[in-house]
């Protein structure tokens, strides 16, 4: 079933992609093949493969049980929030806040999560920003302390 749905989505993508590619036009062209040909060829092949996927008989997709899937989804949202808050909160705080729930998903206790979070946040900051010269955001609220 998963394969059918994905095949349908990909077929839709390829049709939309081809439709969008119609507007890739150049007024003056110096070459016989413009910017349209390659994406359209790829999209046609993608459409054919998508149809082939929908008609494939066997499916070897095994989804994780709902409880695990829910945790994986939650982990994804935690990482997404981390990505978004990375420079707003600054590396140390954002990392600590990300590690605590992520560690909990992998079976750590609250204590381990908090110690690990603060440790990773501060430790990696010192390692990268101070020792390896890879600049990291300190976050507006910390700038006044760390300069």
């Amino acid at each position: 079933m998963s394969e059918r749905i994905l095949g349908g989505i990909l077929l839709f993508v390829s049709v939309i992609g081809i439709w969008l590619a119609r507007s890739f036009e150049v007024t003056i062209s110096y070459e016989p093949v413009g910017p349209r040909a390659f994406p359209i060829t790829v999209l046609i092949l993608l459409g054919i493969s998508a149809i082939a996927l929908m008609f494939e008989k066997k499916s070897d997709t095994v989804w994780a049980p709902p409880a695990v899937l829910l945790r994986i989804g939650a982990l994804f949202l935690v990482v997404l929030a981390y990505a978004w808050l990375f420079d707003k909160l600054g590396f140390i705080l954002a990392t600590s806040l990300m590690v605590i729930p992520a560690a909990r998903f992998f079976g750590a206790s609250w204590r381990q999560g908090i110690v690990g979070g603060v440790g990773l946040g501060a430790g990696l900051f010192v390692l990268f920003d101070r020792l390896l010269d890879v600049a990291l955001p300190t976050g507006l609220w910390l700038n006044s302390f760390l300069g």
Binding site: P35, F38, P39, L46, S49, V79, L80, G116
Partner: protein, 502 residues
Amino acid sequence: MDSTFALLMQGFAVAGTSENLMIALVGCFLGTIVGLLPGLGPINGVAILLPIAFAMKLPPESALILLCAVYAGCEYGGRISAILINVPGDAGAVMTTMDGYPMAKKGLAGPALSISALASFCGALLATIGIVLFAPLLAEWAIAFGPAEYFVLMVLALCCLGGLVGDSLPKAAIACLVGLLLSTVGIDSNSGVYRYTFDALHLQDGIPFIVIVIGLFAVSEVMLMLQQVHAGIEPISISGRLMFNLKEFLAVKWTLLRCSLAGFFIGVLPGAGATIASAMCYASERRMAGKDSDFGKGDVRGVAAPEAANNASANGSLVPMLTLGVPGSGTTAVMMGALTLYNITPGPTLFQDQPVIVWGLIASLFIANVMLLVLNIPLIRVFVKFLSIPNWLLVPGVAAISMVGVYAVHGNTFDLVLGTVIGGIGYLLRVMNFPIAPFILGFVLGDMMEQNLRRALSISNGEVGVLFGSPIAIGLWVAAIAMLAGPRLMKMREKRAAAAFG
């Protein structure tokens, strides 16, 4: 021949500077650790360190030395967890569990580890010599390729990888094609037309390679690790002697040689990688050993064979990337992406244009392997300690370090969010058994493929026949079709034969 030797010496001069030696040592150490951690393999190690190397403003040759040392180190590290906890640290080490774990259970963990370190060294060394001998010849031959042949060569590389990985042809094809499609996002360099940018400023230069790589090999990996939680397995403790004895060495000497050579040639072929090489060599050694061998119950040859093949093929797979600019595996595709970050176009001319980089890299492979052998035998107990890093600390650490890399290169959170979303989609596709290597190869090769296709058709004034115009091109097309269909037809025939007998 003389010139090859002179160039190699020049390479040693590059790789032998104290800074690059230090970088190689750090790479070897990190690589071994990444390799031994179950769930993380060479492609993850290279993917996570690539942006960091770039952000540290390492010169291109140093960055490549770091990545190659990590790559080589991973192949050494995978066997440690295979032998001590019966879980392969990376895909190439699957076969090492067959005899390595039984040996460790018999109290021979020390000899199993040291003989497999020697096998890894032997495979890597012979393969690196193979690179020195064959790569310049192949590069010289490939210089005659015109854009049409080059285009077909890339089609062949995609077909090889697509034909060999995974069971489902549509899935492999979709992975390749989506990779190619995403490579067209951004401003078309020939005409200035905006393609699939949806008016987003960030997408004008295309989807950054680093973002894709981190999404697929860090974010989606983290999600997969939550799905396949390994219950804390206690590693078998190393007691007794650490070193193999003379009898064990004599038992494996021909195995080492055979599997190293076979592994190298399997590695050079695009598509077939370390996993296939180690499985094939293990099977053939087992057959040659005959019925009264201890294979499967803790035979030293069963430890040496897959490790020699695994390391030889990992090094061998650098050959197509260095000589043709067409990587044959996921990991080498990521490395080639590293070259393009430095605005170095890989291809047949790389040997002439960038001798410092190419020969520095080859020399560093020699140096890295000596370091790895030295690190891996006496320091084995240190590495074993890393097996007890709990996942709750490791996984968030991986997530944080990969974000550091992306942020350091691009300096905006748009890329971090994009990478996370790509990782989420990547997770879904990986659960559905979509192969990732063809996707990353398609993304890396997409732009070069399109450029060569357009150039070929410009030369011929739009005549499509030029793609089938030369004997080389026709040969490559035939090979591409055979590689795409061949393995599956063989599998189907086997199944039918089995059904007829059953």
